[in-house]
Amino acid sequence: MLAIIKNTFREALAKKIFIGYYIFYGIVVLVMLFAVNLDAVEGVMSFADVQKTIISVESGFVTLAFPLILFFALISASSFITSMVDKGTIDLLISKPVSRFKILTAKYIGSTLFVAASIVFLIGSIWLILSLKSGYWNAGFLFTIVSLTFAFAVMYSISIFIGLTTQSSIISILVNFFLIFVFCPVLSAREQLIFTFVKNDGVKFIFNFFYYILPKPGEIKDVTIALIANENVPLWKGVVNELGMMGPTWMSVFTSFLFCAVLYSYSVYYFAKKDY
């Protein structure tokens, strides 16, 4: 398994898209460094204000960057599976004394670890810059590393399934785009967006059904923001905010995990039975 994980890292490094990814992250870090040098933090604000400002900057960054980082990571890693199941590559892999489960899992772990490393670089650098400059070391911001990696792992299970069944990375990118930016946000806001107009219980049931079974990257982001702000995140029932929107809950994380576990298990089963 370790050989496949190491090779996934080599494959990632050989892909220009990942180098571009790191260069872009490097630029973001430099911009952050420059922006913080221009700030008005030093000397003027109380520590409580500094804390508030840093939390706002970190939350704002996560709000903007979370879906983009997630989507770009999925684009970059989408070809790992399709290249693995290429005729001539997969035959040789399967002929080796490594089970199909281990082959797929090693690829999954390798891709997730590589993406995690790039997230550690970006989030870790920003955290260091903000903390060194302000003197406020908000450990909650580091949770972004875990939540982004988790969100990637969840959404990547879709890429794996589509990669195995269609051998097309384009389809997996399109499906992920649709889920991250369109379908899942609409489902999350279904009560405000849809249920105001739709009163039919059958339609409501369908929307609720899809909401609960599908992953919730947007809500994982909301949980992250709440943790950055050191807010309490309820387990199941969210608190309604002043805009009438339901606050984040751990339910979004649990159901996303469940979705990932079920889809990945089915992908393993499919891969184990497939003729190559």
Partner: protein, 310 residues
């Protein structure tokens, strides 16, 4: 001892969108014994690659059994003892030759230690690839890729090697080198399962062959026996044959081709002996008697045509 054994192995492919089914293998039963070089022949689409893939559990049979080292082919326990070079293999092109061997060596269960590095050095030297070891394989020629593939299949010292078109894209000198390597492997007791379109090479290398057509096994046997044309003999004489002798020969075999110093006959052994008796009783000295042999290619074309006609 049989290293590979199949019983009534069948594989049926069905299209996802239509009801049409294709039989890639029909009740295929055969064995490959330890230490032999076995050749699998057949036209395109005959089911050769499907058979190899079933044996290696890359594809699964619809019915029948396949055993390797006495174990079910789907059981991966035996895979450490097997090497495989697929047709049109694709190695990760961002790796160097040395890294490719290291990667597949590890996947074959080898530990990345000095012993493995020594084995990689040995394989690269054997394939004349030492000077290219640090070069990324995307710069390799087709022949170099085939040699690297062969090195990969041999790296873990397997007891059984499956080679699917190993000389594809390799120049004549490279092909000769590969043949020599295979003979060397055989002398060390390695069993080789070879799938090749180059019949002349199969004839030179293999002990036994099987010919497949449309999923059916239509001929199997020892290469020497198969290439012996049945009952076609050429008798060369020292003395010139007189018209009277020629007439007597024609009485024994009306279809015999009789020249001044040669007789070409397609007949049974008894009739051949009658002809020899006739010649000797007439004081005709016999220089040679040859049984005509056909090439594997001739045999292949004949049996395939015959099967297609039937």
């Amino acid at each position: 001892m049989a290293l590979i054994e199949t019983q009534n192995l069948s594989k049926e492919y069905s299209s996802r969108f239509s009801k049409q089914k294709v039989n890639a293998l029909n009740n295929f039963s055969f064995t490959v014994n330890e230490g032999e070089i076995f050749g699998l022949l057949g036209p395109n689409g005959a089911g050769k690659t499907t058979l190899i893939k079933i044996l290696l559990a890359i594809t699964f049979q619809t019915s029948g059994t396949a055993k390797i080292f006495g174990l079910d082919a789907r059981d991966s326990k035996w895979k450490k003892r097997v090497g495989y070079l697929p047709e049109n293999h694709k190695f990760p092109n961002y790796l160097t030759g040395e890294q490719v061997l290291g990667y597949y060596g590890e996947l074959s269960g080898m530990k990345r230690d000095s012993k493995m590095m020594q084995k990689i050095d040995e394989m690269l030297a054997l394939m004349n690839l030492t000077q290219w070891r640090k070069t990324r394989i995307k710069k390799y020629s087709k022949g170099m890729m085939q040699k690297l593939g062969l090195a990969q299949s041999m790296l873990s010292n397997p007891d059984l090697i499956f080679l699917d078109e190993p000389t594809d894209g390799v120049d004549p000198i490279g092909r000769k080198e590969i043949r020599d390597i295979l003979h060397d492997l055989k002398s060390k007791g390695t069993t080789i399962f070879l799938n090749s379109h180059l019949l002349s090479e199969v004839e030179m290398i293999c002990d036994r062959v099987a010919i497949l057509n449309k999923g059916d096994l239509i001929k199997e046997g020892n290469v020497h026996d198969l290439t012996q044309a049945e009952n076609i003999f050429m008798i060369h004489t020292v003395n010139t044959l007189s018209p009277e002798i020629k007439q007597k020969v024609s009485l024994i075999d009306a279809n015999a081709g009789v020249g001044d110093n040669e007789i070409h006959t397609e007949t049974q052994i008894e009739t051949l002996n009658k002809m020899i008796d006739l010649l000797r009783s007439n004081n005709i000295s016999i220089k040679t008697i040859n049984q005509k042999t056909s090439t594997l290619e001739e045999l292949f074309i004949n049996v395939i045509n015959k099967d297609n006609t039937n």
